[in-house]
Symmetry: D2
Subunit: 93 residues, 4 copies
């Protein structure tokens, strides 16, 4: 099946779980759940998003960055700079 | 209208927007969008969750913590400790 | 002894330890220690700074914020806003 | 001059500046500077450490990771995993 990868399915499962966490937050707000308990769930959803990002980044380096290091005319420098900028956005978010 | 607060509606609007961002991430993964562009959107969703948390925390301090400082028998210390632990979870997530 | 507090001494001890970590990083760079090992120490120093900030913030809320909630003419709102802004800087740094 | 690199000098300058920030924090604590102002400086030092880490990581990828992608028998996978773990520590610190 073209384009299908096990990774993609795993990513979609993770993102659906995160979507479920965000919908859970909406129910908590609607039900007037105690603020600190809502915050605990926000921290959990934030961590889940960051884990997803780290997984994605690791795969990107194993494939695109490695490939660029071997084949690009600049020795992969453009892809490294692009990945570094993405890492900086993650660290600062 | 009992229980209704303008804050709650604003919170729900924010969370629905974040849910939309997470669904957008699923479409990006399904459409095989370039990894770095997905990461940029993950960073945006993470920041939106953290802004929501900061807003919630600020309101919590203006209401519950202030109230506890004036009326609780421990001078609000338990609520301060609870808020501090929530802040630590945010900083570390 | 006016102005002396056990907290202050504890804070100075922590900060001297963090200063030691930063000097250790300089030695690692001078000795050409492997980059990943330097990064591990940078993460440790960053976490130590954040723990110090969380401690400071917790004390600030137990003293200044509680005090303002009881005595300030605005019910402590200005101090709450100021603390919230400091928390936002921590979360985003 | 063996071992000397412009990068190393730049790194040492950055780290000495961060050491200066941490010593400045000690003076602030000794002088009983207002807590929120100390926190602002802690956030600045934390960000400086993180920028240093991001710079180090970017250089590491441009040199070691690229080199491993071309020459290591595992196609650089071990170095990618090692870098990914370091990035995770940074994001979570």
């Amino acid at each position: 099946m073209p384009g299908y990868t096990p990774d993609r399915e795993a990513h979609l499962r993770r993102l659906r779980r995160i979507e479920g966490q965000v919908r859970g937050l909406q129910r908590m707000v609607t039900d007037d759940v105690y603020c600190i308990d809502v915050l605990t769930q926000v921290s959990a959803a934030t961590r889940a998003l960051q884990s997803f990002a780290l997984e994605l980044l690791s795969e990107h380096m194993s494939s695109c960055v490695v490939d660029a290091a071997r084949n690009d005319s600049d020795g992969g420098e453009a892809k490294i700079q692009e990945a570094s900028a993405a890492i900086a956005r993650l660290v600062r978010s």
